[in-house]
Amino acid sequence: MSLPLAATSIDVSLGEVAAALALVAVAIVASRAWHAGLEEDIGIAVIRSAVQLTAIGYVITLIFDQDSFLLVLVLISVMVVFGAFTARHRAQMVPAAFWPLLVSLAVAAAATLGLVVALGIFDATPRYLVPVGGMVVGNSMTAAAVALNRLGEDVSDQSRRIEATLALGATSSQAMIPLIRRSLRSGMITLVDSTKTTGLIFFPGTMVGMLLAGADPTDAVRLQLILLYVLLGAASIAALMSITLARRNFFTPAHQLREPPEP
């Protein structure tokens, strides 16, 4: 794919960004009026998003200028590591969750980016791999984190049922089958639902961005569809792989349920 890039570039001034802070003020007023206690978090979120996005903007500019595949690889690897760290905090009830998350995010990113390039959907250039890679890692992280969070809670809630099944001679994998089904569903359902309702209830970000930048709506829709399908694939790989790898950590090699980790 090659987008009409010249037609999709717009200039956004810092003043326009600052003007958008008026909406943040609305959120702070609402929080204060209802004593929701979110003012500090909103402030931190605004500052962090500005700093992080500005920094990544410079990094992306550098990578685009260098046109280096190696730099793309480094950037996506860093995203995968940070994604695994972040997701680990949401999967605190899963023993040693970091490694399953790291491997699953890396495989999801590599498999989906490799496939879209191999199928000729995107060119193997930084301009495509960086933004698509970022979306893939972000959505994969969410799916894996939600799936593992559910898995950890289910193992804790259903430890009696799991042990009763083990007592009948089931392997740890067999005892976990119903829980894996539910965890995979939890990890995927948000993305599946948003894919179902896209265009009806909300316009997804990529499409909005392209429309704002002046792209043809048909191009915007097609690109959005490609990304939705890529993200579905990536999220399913990440959720299923993280569950498959992490489920072993709940058991000893003798198919005994371990004590849950300290939260």
Binding site: E163, G169, A170, P178, A254, H255, Q256
Partner: protein, 232 residues
């Protein structure tokens, strides 16, 4: 000897649950008796390797259970937990679960009858049964594996008197009709008297007495235990 525990110590969450336990359980009907929190259920879980001790050995028919395949051991030494924990589905699906994993045949009707349930229960949703009925489905499910030993963790603690009598009757019939051995955990010494020929008495994670039921649970012994409890 069916089971032997040699200097077994087991901790959970940093707390010692069993300390230097040495005990023997013969073939037949045995009971592990003691107050709540004394380590009875933990001891039962060690017998079919749902947990392993921190130190010491558990022997089944003279062989260290760590040297056995845990899955094969659990099919031969089947544990029925204190509270019902059935899989989603019908009674039939629950009974079929273990035998299907092991790849051997089973007879739902006879399993239900042995557990004291009408065979008509087979098609019913397991989640919609009473606790007493679910407990007997748990028993039927374990029996479907044709185990040589049945480990029962407080099988009547969640039941009313009538259901308790029914389960006890089921266990007595089971013993009279099959060669199965039973290890029963209970805090009810009267139940131990009714069902067991051999008793291990446990308190605070230590074995305080063991031997034939009529010796360990004799009136004189009971008075001594009661006096010791009052003194503490």
């Amino acid at each position: 000897m069916l089971f032997e525990l040699e200097d077994v110590t087991y901790s959970r969450s940093g707390k010692v649950v069993l300390r230097d336990v040495s005990a023997r359980l013969p073939v037949g009907a045995s009971c592990v008796a003691g107050p709540s929190g004394s380590g009875k259920s933990t001891l039962l879980r060690l017998l079919n390797r749902l947990a392993d001790p921190d130190s010491g050995r558990v022997l089944y028919e003279g062989v260290d259970v760590r040297e056995t395949d845990p899955l094969a051991l659990r099919r031969e030494v089947s544990l029925v937990p204190q509270l019902p924990a059935l899989i989603e589905g019908t009674v039939q699906e629950n009974i079929a679960y273990g035998p299907r994993l092991a790849g051997h045949s089973f007879d739902t009707r006879s399993c239900l009858e042995l557990a004291g349930l009408d065979p008509a229960f087979a098609g019913r949703d397991a989640a919609k049964l009473s606790v007493g009925e679910q407990q007997r489905v748990m028993l039927a499910r374990a029996l479907a594996l044709e185990p040589r030993v049945l480990l029962l963790d407080e099988p009547t603690s969640a039941l009313d008197e009538a259901a308790r009598d029914a389960v006890e009757g089921t266990l007595r019939r089971l013993r009279s009709r099959t060669a199965i051995s039973i290890v029963l955990v209970t805090h009810d010494t009267e139940q131990a008297r009714r069902l067991a020929e051999y008793v291990i008495r446990i308190d605070g994670g230590r074995v305080t007495a063991q031997g034939p039921t009529d010796e360990v649970l004799s009136d004189r012994e009971e008075e001594a235990v009661a006096a010791a409890e009052d003194a503490s």
